[in-house]
C-alpha cells in the first residue's frame, strides 16, 4: 500500500530538502556502524569456510541454537497465553491499579539483566518461593530448560505486553461495542473482532519478545548455565577456545536469527493490513 507520508529514498535527492539530507547523513552513522559490524564478522568467517562448516556441523552448536530458539518459542507461547489477556485488560480498563501493573511489567526494561537474573533465581531456585513447591512436583529450574524459559520470559514480557496492549487500544471500542449489541459475548467480540484487528501487533509483540528472549545472556546464566543457550556457549568458547571459535558460533547465530526474522516478515507481510486503518 502506498503511503503518501513516505518518500522514496531517491526522490529526496531530486527535490533537495536540507533537513532530510542532514538527517540522513546523521542517521547513516548508525547504519554504517551496524553494517561494519556485520561486514567484519562476515568477512572474517568467510575467510576460513572449512572452519565455519566444522563449527556449523558441531552437534553441541546445533543443539545450543535449537535450544535457544525452542526456549524462545516457549516464551512466545506463554506470552500469547498469559500476556494477551493481560494486555487486553490493560487496554480496556482505566483503573488506578493499571499504572502499578504496567510499572511491574516494565521493571525488566530498567534493570541490569544480572539483577533480573538474580530476581528470577531467587524466585525459582530450589528453595525459592515458587521453585520449592514446583520442585516437589518434579519441575526443577536450576540448570534446566524451565529456568532458561523463566529468565527469558521475565526479560521479554514488557516487549510483548506493551506492543499488544497498544494494538488492542487501537481497535476502536465502538467496533467492539457494536459486535456485542449484535449478539457476540465479550469473549467472542474479542476473538472475532479485536484479535483480527490487532493481529499485526500480536505478531510484532511475539517477534520482539522472541528476539529479546533468544538474545538474553546474563539473566539466563544466573539460573541455568547449563544446558547452554547460544549466548552462554559463545561466552564459554570465548573464554576457553578464544575469539575464532566463539565468533564462528556468533556468525551462525546471526545467519539463523536473520533468516527466521526474514521468513516471518515475508510470510506475514499482509497479516492484519487493516491494523493501521481501523
Amino acid at each position: 500500500m502506498s503511503n503518501p507520508g513516505r518518500e522514496s529514498f531517491w526522490s529526496r535527492f531530486r527535490r533537495p530538502d536540507s533537513t532530510l539530507i542532514a538527517f540522513s547523513l546523521i542517521g547513516s552513522t548508525l547504519v554504517i556502524f551496524s553494517f561494519l559490524a556485520l561486514a567484519t564478522i562476515t568477512l572474517t568467517q568467510l575467510a576460513d569456510l572449512t572452519f565455519l562448516v566444522r563449527v556449523a556441523t558441531d552437534s553441541r552448536v546445533i543443539n545450543s541454537i535449537a535450544l535457544t530458539f525452542g526456549a524462545g518459542l516457549a516464551v512466545v507461547f506463554i506470552l500469547l497465553l498469559f500476556g494477551t489477556p493481560l494486555a487486553y485488560v490493560l487496554a480496556r480498563t482505566h483503573s488506578r491499579i493499571n499504572s502499578l501493573v504496567e510499572a511491574l511489567i516494565d521493571i525488566p526494561l530498567v534493570l541490569p539483566h544480572t539483577v533480573a537474573g538474580i530476581m528470577v533465581y531467587l524466585l525459582f531456585m530450589q528453595r525459592g518461593l515458587l521453585g520449592a513447591p514446583l520442585k516437589d512436583i518434579g519441575i526443577v529450574f536450576e540448570d534446566a530448560l524451565p529456568g532458561i524459559v523463566m529468565a527469558m520470559l521475565f526479560v521479554s514480557m514488557p516487549f510483548y505486553v506493551n506492543t499488544v496492549r497498544e494494538g488492542f487500544q487501537k481497535v476502536p471500542l465502538h467496533i467492539e461495542n457494536v459486535a456485542r449489541t449484535l449478539g457476540a459475548t465479550r469473549f467472542k467480540a474479542f476473538v472475532l473482532v479485536v484479535i483480527p484487528l490487532s493481529a499485526r501487533h500480536i505478531l510484532n509483540g511475539s517477534v520482539l519478545a522472541w528476539g529479546r528472549a533468544i538474545s538474553e545472556f546474563a539473566a539466563v546464566i544466573m539460573i541455568a548455565y547449563y544446558p547452554m543457550i547460544v549466548s552462554t556457549l559463545i561466552y564459554y568458547r570465548f573464554t576457553t577456545g578464544g575469539l575464532k571459535e566463539s565468533s564462528a558460533i556468533a556468525f551462525l547465530m546471526i545467519i539463523a536469527s536473520f533468516s527466521v526474522f526474514l521468513v516471518i516478515r515475508i510470510a506475514t507481510r499482509y497479516l492484519g493490513s487493516y491494523d493501521d486503518r481501523v
Binding site: H174, I175, N177, V178, R180, T181, L182
Partner: protein, 353 residues
C-alpha cells in the same frame, strides 16, 4: 417501552445524574444536548454497554440493568458506523445472524434481502473501508436491522453525510421506523432531523435531563434559557410584563415592547424566545397595519450564510432575523439602515411557563 428510572452512572470525570425518562414503544425519540452531555452514554446504557451505578433501566417493564448487550437485542449505529474493517459488506451484515446461530441458508436469505433493501447488493463482496459515507451508513443500518431488533439506537448517524445524502437518509429512517414498527432513539444536534423525524425528545445537559416532551411541546415552550438556546432560538430575551389580561400581556425588554400570549401578571420578570425566522423584516416605508407587533429598528450587522442572510437588529433589545438572500438584496439592507420588523404574538414563546 424503555424506561430510565433515576439512573446514575459515573464514568471517570463524567456522570449521568438521576436521569428519568420514558420512551414508549414505536416512538421516534430524540436525545439532544451539547457535546459531552452524556447522550452517547445513555444510548450505550440502553444497549447494555454500561451498568448503572444507581437506578434501573427497564425494557418492556423488565429490569435489564445488569443484562449484557448480547442478550438485549438492541441495534446500535454509531456516528462513525463502526463497520468491521476485516470483513466484507456481506459478512458485516451477517455477523449478528451468525452470533444468533441462524442456519446458513437463512443467514444468506436475510443478508440478500437487506442488501437489496438498502440498494447495496453490488457492494456485497467489497471491503468496508473503501466505501463512501453513504454506503457505509447503509451497511451499518442493514447490519443493525439484521438481528430484527425491537429498539434501534442511532448515535448522530447523519452528521458525517453531505446534505443530499442526509435528506435521503431522513426518508430511509422514516421508512424503517414505519415499516419495522421500531422504537428508534436517535442522538442528534440537527433541528431539521428532529423536526422531520421525531415524535418526542429529551434534552440532556451536563449529565442532567433538562426537559422531556413531545417535539412540538419542547420547541413551543423550552424549559430553560439553555434549552431554548440549544434548540436553536437565537433570540432569548429578558423582560418585564407591563400589563396583562385576557391571555395576553405587554412585555418591555430594554425598550422593545412586544405583545405576547401569556398569563404572567404585570410587574413580573419573564424570559422569552423568538425564532430568528419569526422576526420578519420589512422596508421602513411598508404599511403594516393589523400586524401583532411592529417594531422599528436599525441594522447592526449582516452576515451571509449560504442562501440565507442573518441580520442583527437593534430594536431596544438586540434581535436576530434570518431572511433569504434575495430578499435581503431587494431590501438593500446596509449596516446602519433603518428597518421595520414584525413579530407574531404566537411566535413569542415564554420560557419555563
Amino acid at each position: 417501552m424503555i424506561e430510565f428510572d433515576r439512573v446514575g452512572l459515573a464514568l471517570g470525570e463524567f456522570s449521568l445524574k438521576d436521569i428519568s425518562f420514558t420512551v414508549r414503544g414505536g416512538e421516534y425519540f430524540f436525545i439532544i444536548g451539547p457535546s459531552g452531555a452524556g447522550k452517547t452514554i445513555i444510548l450505550e446504557a440502553i444497549a447494555g454497554l454500561h451498568v448503572p451505578d444507581t437506578g434501573r433501566i427497564l425494557l418492556s417493564g423488565k429490569d435489564v440493568s445488569t443484562i449484557p448487550p448480547e442478550q438485549r437485542g438492541v441495534g446500535l449505529v454509531y456516528q462513525d458506523y463502526s463497520l468491521f474493517p476485516h470483513m466484507t459488506v456481506e459478512k458485516n451484515i451477517a455477523f449478528g445472524l451468525r452470533m444468533h446461530h441462524l442456519p446458513s441458508s437463512e443467514i444468506q436469505r436475510r443478508v440478500e434481502e437487506l442488501l437489496s433493501r438498502f440498494g447495496i447488493f453490488h457492494l456485497r463482496s467489497r471491503e468496508t473501508l473503501n466505501l463512501s459515507g453513504g454506503e457505509m451508513q447503509r451497511v451499518a443500518l442493514a447490519r443493525a436491522l439484521a438481528i430484527d431488533p425491537q429498539i434501534l439506537l442511532l448515535d448522530e448517524p447523519l452528521s458525517a453525510l453531505d446534505p443530499g445524502m442526509k435528506e435521503y437518509f431522513i426518508q430511509v429512517l422514516k421508512e424503517i421506523h414505519r415499516d419495522n414498527g421500531l422504537t428508534i432513539i436517535q442522538v442528534s444536534h440537527n433541528r431539521h432531523e428532529i423536526l422531520s423525524l421525531g415524535t418526542r425528545m429529551a434534552l440532556i445537559m451536563d449529565g442532567r435531563l433538562e426537559q422531556e416532551g413531545s417535539v412540538r411541546q419542547v420547541y413551543a415552550s423550552p424549559a430553560t434559557r439553555e434549552v431554548a438556546e440549544f434548540i436553536g432560538y437565537e433570540n432569548v430575551i429578558d423582560g418585564v410584563v407591563v400589563s396583562s389580561g385576557d391571555g395576553e400581556c405587554l412585555i418591555d425588554a430594554s425598550g422593545l415592547k412586544l405583545r405576547a400570549s401569556c398569563t404572567v401578571p404585570a410587574g413580573q420578570g419573564v424570559t422569552f424566545c423568538i425564532g430568528a425566522d419569526e422576526v420578519v423584516l420589512h422596508s421602513p416605508q411598508a404599511s403594516l397595519s393589523g400586524k401583532d407587533n411592529t417594531v422599528q429598528g436599525m441594522v447592526n450587522a449582516i452576515t451571509q450564510s449560504g442562501y440565507l442572510t442573518r441580520v442583527v437588529i437593534d430594536a431596544g433589545a438586540t434581535l436576530s432575523a434570518v431572511i433569504v438572500r434575495e430578499m435581503a438584496d431587494e431590501m438593500a439592507l446596509r449596516v446602519g439602515s433603518p428597518v421595520l420588523l414584525t413579530i407574531r404574538k404566537n411566535a413569542i414563546r415564554m420560557i419555563g411557563k
